[in-house]
């Protein structure tokens, strides 16, 4: 098992199901989950609690990718956005299922389960979240 596959496997709960965590000391929510709270540090040890986020949020800002990285060349042009989740954390993700000119700051989005990339035609397929306009 390559390092890519092992790392992906460890991240399945967050990639498939938006499992983040909450600091039991200051109640801040983190996604991806953190081992300890960067604000409370030692005080948060043993107090980080897993929580499932809704996968809903809104676009804070976005850009249209015209020259994509190796695995994404065929998909250009496509939008990448910073999405602020309802629970607070901000994440970067691809926006799908809409025309590029429909993407707007403030657009309400929800997660959708998609193929993120694959290790060529013989390797593993990595699934996870992307976002689409909320219906």
């Amino acid at each position: 098992m390559g390092e890519g596959v092992a790392r992906f496997w460890r991240e399945i709960p967050q990639r498939y199901n938006f499992i983040g965590d909450r600091c039991g000391s200051c109640e801040r929510i983190f996604f991806p989950p953190k081992e300890s709270c960067p604000f409370c540090r030692r005080k948060s040890m043993g107090k980080m609690k897993e929580i499932k986020l809704s996968g809903k949020g809104e676009i804070v800002t976005y850009t249209i990718i015209h020259v994509g990285p190796e695995d994404f060349e065929e998909q250009v042009p496509y939008p990448i956005a910073i999405v602020k989740l309802e629970e607070g954390p901000q994440i970067t993700a691809q926006i799908v299922d809409c025309n590029i000119d429909e993407v707007k700051i403030g657009m309400k989005v929800e997660s959708t389960f998609r193929k993120i990339r694959q290790d060529g035609s013989t390797g593993a397929i990595y699934y996870g979240y992307k976002f689409k306009k909320r219906c």
Binding site: N17, E74, V96, F113, R114, K115, I125, Y127, C135
Partner: protein, 352 residues
Amino acid sequence: MAIMEKVGIVSYGANIPRWRIKVEDIASIWGKDGKVISKGLGINEKSVPSFDQDTATISVEAARAALKRCNINPQDIGAIYIGSESHPYAVKPTGTIVGEAIGATPDLMVADYEFACKAGTAAIQSCTALVKAEMIKYGLAVGADTSQAAPGDALEYSASAGGAAFIIGKDNVIASINHTISFTSDTPDFWRRAQRKYPSHGGRFTGAPAYFKHITSCAINLMRNAGTKPEEYDYAIFHQPNGKFPVSVAKELGFTYDQIKQGLLVPYIGNTYSGASLIGLASVLDVAKPGDRIFLTSYGSGAGSDAFDITVTEKINDLFRENAPSVFQMVEDKEYIDYGMYTKVSELLFWE
């Protein structure tokens, strides 16, 4: 076959990719008269999966839609069977990905099913039996495909993508499965050899001895078992490889066009293979009322049919149907692509 009491569909969901290509656009590339082909097949356009959609993503989205409509704990799902002929991996079950993505792992049975276009209805039969035997509380049965056809092949006009998921159980059953029966034979009408990307088919042989013989035999056997007649059903759904076959087989069996209309999606989305009859059933459940009786017969090449006699219960009024888009809403939510884009996304440029 024994009458099954109170076991049936607890919730359902469907998923159809947003992209469409018109049959006329495919035909014009091959120098054919698109209008004639479109009319001959009874297909206007078909759904096309995007770069990031496959049988696993369609199955997950359909299963999540089913869960959104009801209040069951995914941990109570004791079995997941995914029927498809386009599982993303040859070895590594799609059901493992779906189980993880809906939060049903790890205490459950999982297997992928294959039986051409009827693997999804086979999955419903297995879940029904396991619930009836009280081995599981709920089972999840999915039929989904992103089917491929060789460029220029007749199937290129119809092979499309989509799927539907059904939660089977005993509590809060919205549609009870009264009877189910199958009809199976060794009939080489359509096949795909291991490691090949595109299927082969027996041309005209796919009609009479294959699709029509299996569906009519299975349907007649089911109605004999159930003691029913075509006119007693409010809705009927048949496998729909094109727009003509299901209409003809319905007529031959004594069903009217009005009975099959709600479950006939092939003119708008093409042949979704394992998803075809099940998206039809989802579409019927979108509008069904308590007391409605539903008849369904799937068909899988190779060949076999599964038939179901279903009665909608009062509980359908408690289902949060509005929590997920209806089949016809998904049919309307579309974006057209041209043949160039279709070729790129189908990886036809990079094949074998």
